[in-house]
């Protein structure tokens, strides 16, 4: 009796099981992709579903070369969507998973590890200056990074200020935790190396490449010093919008992109963590325009920077392919080891600066140089600084190029910042709105020739009112702070013509600054101003 019952029960259960399995089988059959299931010579079933052309980033990261999982992780061997998307990285390049994506051992491990020291990731200078301005640390120096700030268990008012206003541009902040302005950029590697396609319909997989167009820089670098705006000749006349037009940088007018000047070590770090961005930036005006510092020009065979050498080798291969395919050579860096190259301050070569063949010029004339625009290969002549009266004026030896050639700088004469405890604001640390909002009420946006300041090393550089603000942080646990700080700046508004002598020597006294935003940096003191004015009087008085 029991056995019969057991059989009947098992039979019913088995029928139920088979019916359930039949349903599952139908779902499985429907979910299996129909396209090819290989990419890059290995099984990659992602492409059996993601077969549309619009899903292909193309170039070196083409779908059929790398597949999807190399960047997006997930499970490339799975047949169904659900399993295939387990562990998916929707934002490849994000630094929390970069060791598995862009930074995997057989791809860009070296570059990914260097990004750990990039100022764009660490933001240590921004943190130090902000905390110094709030009176929380004694000097604008420090090793505290924005990641430390975001991880602070009990943030100080300055840390809270940074978490709510500044951390959106941090390379480690994921796309979903960013503000509207830079929402189109991914984080980590993707922030620079993935094309923005905010308005493109239908959405395509963006290109992933080293051709970093200016729009990728614009989102982050249009805030604070506003160099991305200034470079284009745009002036913010109200907070955010709209823009007034001023003279664009002469390099921008020549069609040069940010990456045409800035070296990979400037942007991605070089393995050494530095606090302030000007300590990181290797490129100088003199590197292209001369006079070249001692050791600032070498032969390629003497260059030690491996990344540049690899780029050069890649360009050489591309050039040979062009020669085979089109019967002509394309533009690009010279491949000969004895060819000369110029270097940044730490020895990184300017791979797109070419020494022109000497056959066309006389042996007595100085060598001429060409700059190859990285994005389109257009060659531009690079004018060398003449050894004329204007550039050898006595008493001007300490001036940097931009002290005279920076035409203007955006100014924001005052900024009242307060903390509104009754409101709420996005907190990049927690990725959600939290109580309390920092409110900035700038008075007047304008633009003017830059002020001049004296660096700790004695060089005279452009400067701008940096932190002119009155902070009421009492509701955030701080106090009322009023700061008048001067900051050194590279305005990115280079003009072919230098500013006039009068713009310095007959400038009105201007505001007094209590300190600089760098240790040892200061504005001209009263005696120096008198000397500058007296120099003009000496010159014009018969």
């Amino acid at each position: 009796m029991f056995r019969t019952f057991a059989f009947v029960a098992a039979l019913c259960a088995a029928l139920l099981g088979l019916l359930t399995a039949a349903g599952r089988e139908a779902r499985r059959e429907a979910s299996v992709g129909r396209g090819p299931d290989r990419a890059g010579g290995r099984v990659e079933r992602c492409v059996s579903c993601h077969a549309k052309e619009s899903e292909d980033p193309g170039g070196a990261h083409a779908r059929l070369a790398l597949g999807c999982a190399s960047c997006h992780l997930g499970n490339p061997l799975a047949f169904g969507k659900e399993r295939a998307h387990e562990g998916l990285e929707r934002e490849p390049g994000a630094l929390s998973t970069v060791a598995l994506t862009c930074g995997r051992a057989d791809c860009h491990a070296r570059e990914a590890s260097r990004v750990a020291t990039s100022p764009m990731l660490r933001n240590a200078g921004m943190v130090a200056v902000d905390r110094f301005a709030f009176g929380e640390i004694p000097s604008p120096d420090g090793r505290e990074t924005i990641a430390d700030v975001l991880a602070a268990a009990h943030p100080t008012p300055a840390q809270d200020h940074l978490r709510k206003l500044c951390a959106g541009c941090h390379l480690g902040t994921r796309r979903a935790n960013r503000d509207d302005q830079i929402g189109g950029n991914g984080s980590g590697c993707a922030a620079c190396h993935v094309a923005r396609n905010l308005d493109e319909k239908p959405r395509r997989h963006p290109a992933v490449d080293s051709k970093v167009t200016d729009d990728r820089c614009f989102g982050c670098h249009s805030g604070s010093g506003r160099i991305a705006l200034s470079y284009r000749g745009l002036v913010e006349v109200e907070k955010g919008e709209p823009f007034a037009h001023a003279a664009p940088d002469v390099h921008q007018a020549a069609g040069m992109a940010c990456v045409d000047c800035h070296l990979h070590t400037d942007l991605m770090g070089d393995g050494t963590a530095r606090t302030h961005k000007e300590d990181q930036v290797e490129i100088t005006c003199e590197a292209c325009h001369g006079p070249v510092r001692e050791g600032g020009e070498k032969r390629w065979e003497e260059v030690s920077d491996e990344i540049s050498k690899e780029i050069l080798a890649r360009e050489k291969r591309r050039e040979e392919e062009d020669l085979l395919r089109k019967g002509k050579r394309g533009g690009g860096p010279p491949a000969a080891p004895d060819a000369a190259t110029r270097l940044g301050t730490r020895g990184t070569p300017l791979i797109n600066l070419l020494r022109k063949s000497s056959s066309s010029s006389s042996s007595s004339s100085p060598p001429s140089w060409l700059l190859v625009r990285k994005l389109d290969g257009v060659e531009l002549p690079v004018k060398q600084t003449p050894h004329d009266r204007n550039h050898t004026l006595r008493g001007h030896e300490r001036l940097t190029c931009s002290a005279c050639h920076a035409a203007w700088v955006p100014t924001c004469d005052s900024c009242h910042t307060s903390f509104d405890a009754s409101s709420s604001q996005w907190d990049y640390a927690s990725g959600r709105e939290t109580a309390g909002a920092w409110v900035e009420k700038p008075e007047v946006f304008s633009w003017a020739p830059p002020l001049l300041g004296v660096r700790a090393d004695g060089r005279i550089v452009p400067a701008a009112p940096g932190m002119i603000f009155d902070v009421d942080a009492t509701a955030a646990g701080g106090g009322r702070i009023s700061r008048r700080l001067l900051t050194p700046t590279e305005p990115h508004t280079t003009g072919r013509r230098a500013r006039t002598c009068e713009s310095c020597h007959r400038a009105p006294p201007g505001p007094e600054f209590e300190a600089g935003t760098r240790t040892g940096f200061r504005g001209l003191n009263a005696a120096e101003r008198r000397r500058v004015a007296a120099a003009w009087i000496d010159r014009v008085t018969p």
């Binding site: 059989f7 088979l18 399995a21 089988e25 399993r83 562990g87």
Partner: protein, 291 residues
């Protein structure tokens, strides 16, 4: 095989050989072997994870076949364990000659080894971890440890060829031979085999057998095969050699039961119960840690 088969004796009565679940276990073994043979063409030890994905997602009814194989294999152990409890409760162990009894007891570790082999053949993150633990346990065997590990697990890292061979060949053959000797018949009872097939199909259809995390993944907690969770829990606090000493202890205790009488048998059964309780404790511990 001229000895009358134990399974011919009536079941469920005092003094009967307690063969109900034993026969069912043989039936499950038959289902497991047949479904396993059906899976063989689709499995490549050198690309285990890909094979599993293909069976699960790319092969019509492959998920069902794999689940059928897994559940019937699990049921072999479950029904065998119940059979042992029945035998101990009914005190029928002396119905087998001593040699046959000892070899029958050996079926238990062989079954577990076959199940462990099947687990390892998944090639997922948990399987890779289990393989490493299995290797360490084998290597802790005195004198022959390294060679035993090489024999059972192979010498090429990542190649599951040796494990597959022993899972589908060595262990299955030993299981069948010893079960046949124990049951006194070469083939299982048709009724029990049909019943085992129906139960396995019911389980395979209604309870999907999940695939683990990809081998490249590193989940926070890795769980071994369910039958060895007690050992996994214990190995967190004891050295690797306990991994073979503890099962050996159970086998010896079970083997000695046939020779024990009166109080001696009671002590042996109590020790087996204690062993089982300890194993259950460590199983729960491993599950709690994983949660």
């Amino acid at each position: 095989m001229d000895r009358p088969g134990l399974t011919d004796a009536p079941a469920g009565r005092a003094g009967a050989p307690s063969g109900g679940f034993g026969r069912l276990s043989f039936g499950f073994l038959a289902v497991s072997v047949v479904s396993g043979v059906a899976l063989v063409p689709f499995y490549t030890p050198a690309s285990a994870w890909d094979s599993l994905e293909r069976i699960e997602g790319g092969l019509a009814w492959g998920f069902f076949l794999r689940a059928l194989h897994a559940y019937s294999s699990f049921a072999v152990l479950v029904t065998a364990a119940i059979h042992i409890v029945q035998v101990l409760a009914a005190k029928t162990e002396r119905q087998l000659p001593a040699g046959v009894w000892w070899r029958s007891v050996a079926l238990l570790p062989v079954t577990v080894a076959a199940l462990l082999g099947g687990f390892v053949l998944r090639g997922d993150a948990e399987a890779i971890a289990a393989l490493a633990i299995w290797q360490r346990i084998l290597e802790s065997l005195p004198l022959v440890g390294v060679e035993a590990a090489r024999l059972f697990l192979g010498s090429a890292p990542g190649d599951l060829g040796a494990a597959a061979l022993h899972h589908a060949g060595t262990f299955t053959l030993i299981l069948w031979l010893l079960t046949a000797e124990h049951a006194g018949r070469v083939y299982p009872d048709v009724r029990e085999t049909v019943l085992a097939g129906l139960v396995s199909a019911a389980l395979a259809g209604t309870i999907p057998l999940p695939l683990g995390a990809p081998p490249s993944a590193s989940p926070a907690h890795l769980l071994g095969p369910w039958s060895l969770l007690g050992l996994q829990g214990a190995l967190a606090v004891v050295p690797p050699w306990v991994g073979w000493v503890a099962p050996l202890e159970l086998v010896v205790l079970l083997g000695l039961v046939r020779h024990g009488k009166g109080r001696g048998r009671k002590v042996l059964v109590a020790l087996i119960a204690l062993w089982a309780a300890g194993y259950a404790f460590f199983t729960v511990r491993a599950l709690l840690v994983a949660r």
